[in-house]
Amino acid sequence: MSEHSEHTGHVVPVRTYLLVFFALMAGTALTTAVAYIDLGRWNTVVALAIAFTKMCLVILFFMHVKYATGLTRVVILCGFFWLAIMITLTLSDELTRVWEINPSGWSALLPFASRLL
């Protein structure tokens, strides 16, 4: 974070790398194991949550974003934000088409919402 680190690059202790590494390995094992337990719609949620956590670990430590400038962080957030725009607005059409034939209201969206998970 400090100005200094930007000059020469932050040196991350090997210990941290190893911890992150083991966390990632554990995450993979966990997510695989969970896939064999019936959690209903929560299976997808858990799988994505674990994937998201793993991603954060990689970005923060392996990619040194924990020690990077605000600019780098903004750039990354932009990427994900724009991806979110694309997904949400596309779905805003794809998920509401049935309403057209069937104008029964907002409740028509619910089954789709549950399937999202």
């Binding site: 930007e6 000059h7 020469t8 690059g9 040196v11 991350v12 090997v14 790398y17 190893l18 992150v20 590494f21 990632l24 390995m25 993979t28 997510t31 695989t32 896939a35 064999y36 337990i37 019936d38 959690l39 299976n43 997808t44 799988a47 994505l48 674990i50 994937a51 793993k54 991603m55 990689v58 970005i59 430590f61 392996f62 990619m63 600019l71 780098t72 750039v75 990354i76 932009c78 990427g79 994900f80 724009w82 991806l83 694309m86 997904i87 596309t90 779905l91 794809e94 998920l95 789709f112 399937r115 999202l116």
Partner: protein
């Protein structure tokens, strides 16, 4: 011209348009991150299409997903995580001014893991898929038990091959970059003061790893395996 000369001798790897090494390093780093953002949206296009169809053809996608072998996907995830660690260690060695042999060691290890990933994918997984007749365009066969889910299953397999294929292409490019890095290291290009190419390539490599983390979750694990 005159500017760099005024700063004294060129440090290794210094390009004339910059004022100093720090500016150059920051520019390179920012450039790589911006590039990774384009990659996020590149893969993001596929993810968007995938999500849409997954919602429209949920049953088919679950059926399709169950045709994949989790053991292949999981093993490859482990392999890629290992390669990420070794890549990080390679950069760390350069940062802390270790002998070039050590840097090369970690780089080669990274390449081995990368090659292992591709090897497993091509020789085991895709071969298995081919034998099972689930490669669209290459002897794909509907199975009676799918019923009318067939087209959806084919669509899932399309996404599976397209997304993992795109990912594999990125891995191959990454292996090429690593080869160049090994050569550069061997020629003593890097020092604690200048290791930007290593650092930037590392970002790329880790990004490809992240993409796989999501592919694993989305392609292999949907709908549960119970």
């Amino acid at each position: 011209m005159t500017e760099a000369a005024a700063h004294g001798a060129h440090p290794p790897g210094f390009a004339h348009q910059f004022e100093d090494m720090q500016q150059q390093r920051e520019a390179g780093n920012l450039g790589m991150w911006v590039f990774l953002v384009t990659e996020i949206l590149f893969f993001g296009g596929m993810f968007t299409a995938y999500i849409v169809y997954r919602l429209l053809h949920y049953e088919s996608f679950v059926t399709g997903s169950h045709l994949l072998e989790v053991k292949f996907g999981a093993t490859n995830t482990y392999v890629l995580i290992c390669s990420s660690l070794t890549m990080a260690l390679a950069i760390r060695s350069a940062q802390t001014g270790k002998r070039k042999g050590q840097i090369i060691f970690w780089l080669i290890l990274t390449m081995i893991f990368g090659a292992l990933f591709l090897g497993l994918k091509f020789t085991f997984e895709w071969r298995h898929d081919y034998i099972e007749h689930i490669v669209p365009g290459f002897g794909f066969q509907y199975r009676p038990e799918w019923g009318s889910l067939g087209p959806g299953v084919q669509m899932f397999m399309c996404f599976y091959f397209f997304m993992t294929g795109m990912h594999a292409v990125h891995m191959i490019v990454g292996l090429g970059i690593l080869t160049v890095l090994v050569i550069m290291t061997a020629r003593n290009k890097f020092s604690p003061g200048y290791y930007a190419p290593l650092e930037i390539s590392g970002l790329y490599w880790h990004f490809v790893d992240i993409v796989w983390i999501f592919l694993f979750a989305l392609l292999y694990l949907i709908g549960g395996r119970y």
